[in-house]
C-alpha cells in the first residue's frame, strides 16, 4: 500500500492470507521431527493408551474390557493371519478379514487425504463431504450408460468421483487462498452441504432417485459390468474386491508425490513455514488449492471404491450415517502422515470398525451399538494423544532412561531423546 490516507479501507488481505486460526507450523514440524526420531514407538504408545482408556469406559459401565476386546478382535478376522487358526474358524476369520480389508482400502485413501493436507499445514476435516460427492458421482456414472465396456465404465466412474472430490475440496483450498477463510470451518460446512445435497438427490422425488420404486429414497443400482471384480471370497457375499490395490497404489503415488516431486516439496515447504516458502518463490495460495484438490481427489476415490465395490447403490440413510471419513483423521495422525504408517493405521481402524459392527461382534459379549461408540471414543483419544506429543514423548523418554544416560546426552544428529520444539 503506497499511500494510506485516513479513512481509506483496510488493505486487502494478502492473496494467500493466513486465516485467523490455523494449525501451528510448530505442530507440523514436530510431527515430521517425531517421524524421524520417535519411530513407531510413539504411535504404538498412543494406541495402547487409547485402548486402555477405552477399556476403562467399558469397565465403568459394568462390562469386561478384556472379553470385549477379544470379541472385537475375533470379529475383525485378524486371527486369520495366525497359522494355528484352522478349520471352520479359519473360514469365518477369512470372511471377517475380507470385511476388514474392504474398509481398510477406503480408509487408506481417506487417511492420505488428511495426511497430505497436514503436510502442507492444512487440516482437512472435509473428508466426509469429499467422500460423499465422490460416491454420488460414482453411483451416477456407474448406474448410467449400461452398454459401456466394463473396464472403461469402472475407470470413468472412478475418474468422475475423483474429479468431484477434488472440486469439492478445491473450494476450501481456494477460499483459504483468496480470502484466508479457515479450512477447518469451510470443510465442515461443505460436509453438511454434501449431506443435504445427497439426501436431496436420492430422496423422494429427487433427480437421482431410482426409477423402479418411487417410494424408496435410494439410487439406481450400479450396472453389473461396472462393478469392481472380487478376487478373494464370494462375490455374492461381499467378498474382497480389487479396490484395496487401488488404495495401495495411491499410497505409493502419495509417497512419490510427497518425497520425490516438486509439488510435494512445495507442499511440505508451505507446511513448515508459509512465509519462508513465499519468500523463496513458492506460490503459497496456489499450493493450498492444489493440495486441497489432491486430498479431495483421494477422498472422492475412496467414495467410488465403496460404491463400485460393495454398496452398489446409495440410500439417503447411508449418506447421513457415514462416519468413515472422520476416521481418516485418526488414521493420518496415527500413521504420522507417512504412506506406510497410514496403511498400517488404516488396517487397525478397519479392524476396529468391523470388529464392532453389528454383523461381526457377538452381541452376547458386548452390544455392537455400544461398541461402535467405543470405536468413536478410541478414535478421539488417538487424535487427542497424538496432539499431546509432549505427553507421549514424556512417557517415551521415561521408558528409556538408561540408554539416554549411556549416550551422554549427545547421541548423534537425530538426537537420541526426542526434543519437543515449542
Amino acid at each position: 500500500m503506497s499511500s494510506v490516507r485516513p479513512g481509506a479501507p483496510a488493505p486487502p488481505p494478502p492473496p494467500d492470507g493466513q486465516p485467523e486460526i490455523a494449525l501451528s507450523p510448530g505442530f507440523v514440524a514436530r510431527m515430521t521431527g517425531q517421524m524421524r526420531a520417535g519411530g513407531w514407538i510413539a504411535p504404538l504408545l498412543t494406541v495402547v493408551v487409547a485402548f486402555f482408556m477405552g477399556g476403562l469406559v467399558v469397565a465403568a459401565t459394568g462390562h469386561n474390557p478384556l472379553s470385549t476386546y477379544k470379541a472385537i478382535f475375533d470379529g475383525s478376522g485378524l486371527q486369520w493371519l495366525f497359522p494355528w487358526t484352522s478349520g471352520p474358524d479359519r473360514d469365518t476369520a477369512a470372511i471377517n478379514l475380507q470385511q476388514t480389508l474392504l474398509t481398510t482400502g477406503p480408509l487408506i485413501l481417506l487417511g492420505l487425504a488428511v495426511g497430505y493436507a497436514f503436510r502442507a499445514g492444512l487440516f482437512n476435516i472435509g473428508g466426509q463431504g469429499q467422500y460423499i460427492v465422490g460416491s454420488i458421482a460414482a453411483v451416477w456414472a456407474g448406474s448410467s450408460w449400461a452398454g459401456m465396456p466394463g473396464w472403461i465404465h469402472v475407470i470413468l466412474a472412478m475418474v468422475l468421483a475423483t474429479a468431484a472430490g477434488a472440486t469439492w475440496a478445491g473450494i476450501s483450498g481456494a477460499l483459504r487462498a483468496i480470502t484466508g477463510a479457515n479450512e477447518v470451518i469451510t470443510t465442515i460446512m461443505l460436509n453438511w452441504i454434501a449431506i443435504w445435497l445427497g439426501v436431496y438427490l436420492f430422496g423422494l422425488g429427487g433427480p437421482l432417485q431410482n426409477n423402479a420404486q418411487p417410494d424408496v429414497p435410494i439410487s439406481n443400482d450400479i450396472v453389473h459390468s461396472a462393478r469392481l471384480p472380487v478376487f478373494w471370497g464370494d462375490a455374492d457375499l461381499q467378498g474382497l474386491h480389487i479396490g484395496i490395490f487401488v488404495a495401495l497404489a495411491a499410497a505409493v503415488v502419495y509417497w512419490v508425490l510427497l518425497n520425490r516431486s516438486t509439488k510435494g516439496y512445495e507442499a511440505r515447504a508451505v507446511g513448515f513455514n508459509p512465509e519462508a516458502a513465499r519468500y523463496s518463490g513458492i506460490r503459497v495460495g496456489r499450493t493450498y488449492v492444489l493440495v486441497m484438490a489432491t486430498c479431495g481427489a483421494l477422498a472422492g476415490l475412496a467414495g467410488s471404491l465403496d460404491v463400485l465395490g460393495w454398496q452398489f447403490h446409495i440410500a439417503t440413510n447411508d449418506i447421513q450415517g457415514t462416519q468413515l471419513a472422520f476416521l481418516g483423521i485418526a488414521v493420518a495422525l496415527l500413521g504420522r502422515n507417512t504412506a506406510l504408517g497410514t496403511c498400517l493405521a488404516a488396517l487397525m481402524f478397519g479392524a476396529l470398525v468391523n470388529g464392532t459392527s453389528v454383523r461381526n461382534l457377538d452381541p452376547a459379549v458386548f452390544e455392537p451399538e455400544l461398541a461402535q461408540n467405543l470405536t468413536t471414543v478410541i478414535q478421539g483419544l488417538v487424535v487427542l494423544f497424538v496432539s499431546a506429543d509432549v505427553l507421549i514423548l514424556l512417557i517415551y523418554n521415561k521408558l528409556r532412561p538408561r540408554r539416554r544416560a549411556r549416550g551422554g546426552g549427545a547421541a548423534g544428529p537425530a538426537g537420541d531423546t526426542i526434543e519437543v520444539v515449542a
Binding site: 479501507p9 501451528s24 487440516f123 477460499l175 480470502t179 429427487g206 461408540n373 478414535q379 496432539s387 515449542a422
Partner: protein, 409 residues
C-alpha cells in the same frame, strides 16, 4: 516475529483504519439498505405485486455501490451491488409466487420467534468461544462441549426429575470436557485444533455410548422435564410482540449472557486480564497475571457456556436427545465468532443471521416440497459465505491459538 504477525499487530483490533463513517461508507451502507428494501417491499405486509419499483430501487442501490467503489470503499460497495442483485432476484421470486404461500412463509412474528430459538444454542456456544479465544485458546471442541451439555442435560433432567438438575449436570459435563481441553492445550501445549478435533470425537463417542447404555432403542423418555417457556402479554404489540410472547427461558438467558459476557470481558478488571493474556501473554505474565490460570478458567467457562447451548437443544427445544444432535452447530458458532469479530454484539448479530437462515429453511418447503431437503443446507451455505466474506476485516486476539510456555521451563 513473522511479518504477518507484525502487520496484524499494526492493525487496530476493530477493522483499523476503515472504521468511522466516511462518505464512501455511507454510500455503501445506503446501497445495501436499498437493495434489502427492494426485496422487503414485495413481502408481507407490504406485498407490492409488481417488480417495477424493486428494479428502480435495485438500480439505485447498484449505483450507490459503484460510487462507493470509485471512492475506494470496495468491500461495502461490492456488498451494495450484491444486495441489489439478491434484492431484485428475491423480489422477482416473491412477485411470481402466490400471496397465500408468501404469507405462510413470511409470517414475521413466527419467523422472528423461530430465529431466536435457532440462534440460542449458537449464541451460547459462540460466547463460550469468545471467552476462550479472548484468552488465547482456540476452541474447536465447542461442538463436543455442546453435545456433552445436550446429553447430560437430558440425562440429568431424567435422573433428578427437574430441569434445573439437568442444566446443572449438563453444564458440569461441558466444563469437564473443557477441563481436558485446557490440560492439553494449556499445560501440554498441544496443537489446539487437533486437541479440539479429538475431543469432539470423544464427546460424540461418550454421549453415544452413554445414550445407548442408558436408553437403548427406546430413546430418552417422553416425560423429560424441560426448561419452561416464559409467557409475556405482548401479543398486541406487532410482530415483535408476537415473537417474544412465548419464548423459552434459555432464549432470554442467551440474550442476557450476551450482555453479561460483554460486561465481564470488556468492562471489568478480570476481563482486561483475560484479554491481555490473549493478546500478549508474556507481557501479562510480567505484570503478575497467571497466564495458565486465566486460560484454564476461560476454557472451562467456555465449556459451561457451550454446554448451556447444548442443554437448550435437548431439554429446551427438541425435548429429547439423539446421537450427534448438535449437527455441526459448534462449528457454525465458531464461524459466528469470526464473523462477529470476537465481540459479543457482533457475535449476537451473526448468530441471529444464522438462526434466521435456519428458521427460513424450515419454512421454505412451502414453496417446493421436493427442494425441502436442499433448503436444510442453507445455514451451512450462509456460514461458508460469511466466513469467506468477512475474514479479511476480522482480527483475532494476537495470541489466539498460540500455546504459551513460561520462561525457564
Amino acid at each position: 516475529m513473522s511479518t504477518a504477525a507484525i502487520t496484524r499487530n499494526l492493525r487496530a483490533p476493530d477493522g483499523g483504519p476503515s472504521s468511522g463513517l466516511t462518505r464512501e461508507r455511507a454510500l455503501g451502507w445506503g446501497g445495501i439498505a436499498l437493495g434489502i428494501l427492494a426485496f422487503l417491499m414485495t413481502l408481507p405486509p407490504f406485498e407490492v405485486r409488481s417488480i417495477g419499483p424493486s428494479v428502480v430501487l435495485a438500480v439505485l442501490a447498484a449505483g450507490l455501490g459503484v460510487a462507493a467503489i470509485v471512492g475506494g470503499e470496495r468491500r461495502l460497495g461490492g456488498g451494495a451491488i450484491a444486495a441489489a442483485i439478491v434484492g431484485v432476484l428475491g423480489a422477482y421470486g416473491a412477485t411470481r409466487s402466490g400471496t397465500s404461500h408468501l404469507e405462510v412463509v413470511v409470517s414475521w412474528g413466527a419467523l422472528t420467534a423461530a430465529m431466536l430459538r435457532y440462534a440460542t444454542p449458537l449464541t451460547f456456544a459462540a460466547l463460550g468461544g469468545l471467552v476462550s479465544e479472548r484468552a488465547g485458546v482456540v476452541n474447536i471442541a465447542l461442538e463436543g462441549m455442546m453435545l456433552m451439555g445436550a446429553f447430560f442435560a437430558a440425562w440429568g433432567a431424567d435422573k433428578t426429575g427437574t430441569w434445573v438438575g439437568g442444566i446443572l449436570i449438563g453444564v458440569l459435563a461441558g466444563m469437564a470436557l473443557a477441563l481436558v481441553h485446557a490440560i492439553f492445550a494449556v499445560s501440554l501445549r498441544s496443537d489446539q485444533i487437533v486437541v479440539g478435533t479429538g475431543l469432539n470425537f470423544v464427546a460424540l463417542g461418550v454421549t453415544g455410548y452413554m445414550y445407548v447404555n442408558s436408553y437403548g432403542a427406546q430413546g430418552t423418555p417422553d416425560n423429560l422435564p424441560s426448561v419452561p417457556e416464559v409467557n409475556l402479554p405482548t401479543d398486541s404489540l406487532g410482530f415483535i410482540g408476537q415473537a417474544i410472547s412465548q419464548l423459552n427461558l434459555l432464549v432470554w438467558g442467551s440474550l442476557l449472557a450476551v450482555v453479561l459476557v460483554w460486561l465481564l470481558v470488556f468492562r471489568t478488571r478480570t476481563g482486561l486480564r483475560l484479554r491481555s493474556v490473549g493478546e500478549n501473554p508474556r507481557a501479562a505474565e510480567t505484570v503478575g497475571i497467571g497466564v495458565y490460570r486465566t486460560r484454564y478458567a476461560a476454557v472451562v467457562a467456555s465449556g459451561g457456556l457451550a454446554a448451556l447451548g447444548g442443554a437448550f437443544l435437548s431439554i429446551g427445544f427438541v425435548h429429547s436427545f439423539s446421537q450427534n444432535m448438535t449437527a455441526g452447530r459448534g462449528f457454525i458458532a465458531l464461524a459466528a465468532l469470526i464473523a462477529g469479530r470476537w465481540r459479543p454484539g457482533g457475535v449476537l448479530a451473526a448468530t441471529l443471521l444464522f438462526g434466521f437462515s435456519s428458521a427460513l429453511a424450515q419454512r421454505l418447503p412451502e414453496f417446493s416440497p421436493s427442494l425441502a431437503t436442499l433448503f436444510q443446507a442453507l445455514p451451512y451455505v450462509l456460514t461458508l459465505i460469511a466466513v469467506a466474506g468477512v475474514v479479511g476485516r476480522s482480527t483475532p486476539p494476537a495470541a489466539d491459538g498460540v500455546p504459551y510456555q513460561r520462561e525457564g521451563n
